[in-house]
């Protein structure tokens, strides 16, 4: 009786050439890029005492500051929600048109993706600066900046989700004679809804944090207060602002987890 022939692994499979190659490449990229950009890791550790010093000064939050920042924090949340929602509304059709399993026209898809790449390339600080120049200091500039930023991010996250769906239900809906929009509504949406919601909330969370930075440029919200406290070296106030932002982020995270469980 002959033993069944077991296929031999190729030389490259046996020595894990691919895995080793990727690891070497990644390490080389890391070392190379830190050389070229002149990042000094040693400095991070030698100046560590300044960092701890800052932490010590922030460890006494100025609790009396809380009532003052409630209103701007509220404004920040509103800005983030508005910006994320507006961005999402525009992102959905773009995500559908960019998904290779829904749109077979390569040119259309390539064009849409080019637009999305462009939008994602624009730095949000630049956008904020431009819109502050156009609309003046205030939350309008912030909302528009966040909307554009969310649009770029969400459309990419969404089309990547759409590309992973099971195509069977789409075939079934096509065979009953449903229109394109109906097919997407019935066969695509239920498959991606919970991931959409969780990406939406993730973007909202990023926007809450981003809007604290945007405030620097006069785009409204809590950022204005963050900037003021830092320029006054009033780190007790800074600590309060950071803690308050943390609470908001945690609440969004909690909502996200809850919704995902409900929608699954």
């Amino acid at each position: 009786m002959t033993t069944p022939e077991i296929p031999q692994r190729s030389w490259s499979q046996r020595w894990h050439v691919k895995a080793v190659g990727w690891t070497v490449l990644l390490v080389a990229l890391l070392v190379g890029s830190s050389r070229m950009t002149g990042v000094d890791v040693g400095m991070f550790f030698s100046n560590f005492d300044q960092f701890t010093n800052l932490l010590v000064r922030m460890s006494q939050p100025a609790w009396s500051y809380v009532p003052i920042i409630i209103q701007p924090l509220y404004e920040t949340i509103q800005m983030a929600i508005l910006g994320t929602t507006i961005g999402t509304v525009f992102a959905v059709p773009f995500a559908v048109l960019a998904a290779s399993n829904l749109v077979h026209n390569q040119w259309l898809r390539g064009f849409i993706r080019l637009i999305l790449d462009l939008v994602r390339t624009l730095p949000d600080l630049l956008l904020a600066a431009i819109f502050v120049a156009i609309f003046g200091i205030g939350s309008t500039a912030g909302v528009i900046t966040l909307a554009i930023f969310s649009f770029g991010m969400i459309s990419k996250l969404f089309y990547e989700v759409i590309e992973t769906i099971d195509m069977g239900p789409l075939e079934a809906m096509e065979s009953v004679g449903a229109s394109k929009v109906t097919i997407i509504w019935y066969a695509v949406l239920p498959q991606i809804m919970n991931q959409f919601v969780s990406y939406f909330l993730y973007t909202l969370e990023i926007n809450v944090r981003a809007s604290t930075v945007l405030g620097y440029l006069g785009a409204g919200g809590i950022g204005v207060f963050l900037q003021r406290s830092l320029s006054e070296f009033d780190y007790g106030k800074t600590a309060v602002i950071i803690l308050a932002t943390l609470v908001v982020v945690m609440v969004i995270d909690g909502v996200s987890n809850h919704l995902r469980r409900v929608l699954l």
């Binding site: 069977g168 079934a172 449903a178 229109s179 019935y186 498959q191």
Partner: protein, 250 residues
């Protein structure tokens, strides 16, 4: 069955864009009300043949007529109306798993509504009743509000049949509808298809791998090999030897 055929293939060829021959010079008629079973080895072109009937696949040359109308020129709304009268059932059921049985069944009715009404789920009371009656036909009314992914395979296939019934189809195409089911469930599903064929006069075309099932349910058996019809007989004339020949390689 002396009247005009409901479906007719005339010199139909299909070549896939990569050069694979899907169908080769197909010529045959399907009379109204027939229960036709298509058999053949894997890759013989059974799925391709079925999908040319509702234009899920385009043919390369020839013509298919349905109720005496050539279908290759249909576009947009007229194509959707063609598909509306042809139900389709799949090996993997293709239900919307996260939706309820009710929504899945109602989704078979969307071609009777404008898009905005479908999107807002504005189904008439009559159609909601129709959904319940469709589920009665497959014995699953008690699952109306159950999510589709909580059903067994056999139950999912019955929901898929109910969805098809909502179209009020004249033809049902079934692409290996029982390939993922156990023998008992297989009988249930095939019995339902047979009943729709006999009681409602729906023309049924089923792709099957099992010769035994084909003999048990078919009025007529068509055998495919390499995209061509190599066998076509009424069930009364079919012999065991014929069928083993279809499944012989080359």
């Amino acid at each position: 069955m002396d009247q005009q055929p409901i479906i007719s293939f005339k010199n139909v060829n299909k070549i896939y864009s990569n050069g694979t021959v899907g169908l080769k010079d197909i010529n045959f008629d399907i009379p109204r009300g027939e229960f036709l079973v298509v058999v053949g080895l894997s890759g013989a072109g059974k799925s391709t043949l079925l999908r040319t009937i509702n234009r899920m696949h385009e043919i390369s040359s020839g013509e298919i007529t349905i109720e005496d109308e050539p279908i290759s020129s249909y576009k947009g709304q007229s194509l959707r109306l063609l598909r509306r009268k042809i139900g389709m059932i799949f090996q993997d059921f293709n239900l919307i798993k996260r939706s309820t049985v009710q929504r899945n069944v109602l989704s078979g009715r969307v071609s009777y509504y404008p898009t905005w009404k479908s999107v807002l789920s504005l189904f008439s009371t009559a159609d909601k009743d129709r959904a319940i009656r469709a589920l009665e036909r497959v014995n699953l009314t008690e699952k109306l509000y159950t999510r589709a992914d909580e059903l067994s395979g056999g139950q999912q296939q019955r929901v898929a049949i109910a969805r098809t019934l909502m179209q009020d189809p004249k033809v049902i195409l079934a692409d290996e509808p029982v390939a993922s089911l156990d023998p008992l469930t297989t009988q249930t599903v095939m019995d339902i298809l047979k009943r729709l064929n006999q009681e409602d006069g729906i023309t049924v075309i089923v792709n099957l791998h099992s010769v035994a099932l084909a003999r048990q349910y078919a009025d007529r058996i068509v055998g495919l090999r390499a995209g061509a019809v190599v066998y076509d007989k009424e069930i009364a004339d079919v012999t065991e030897a014929d069928l083993t020949k279809i499944y012989q390689t080359a």
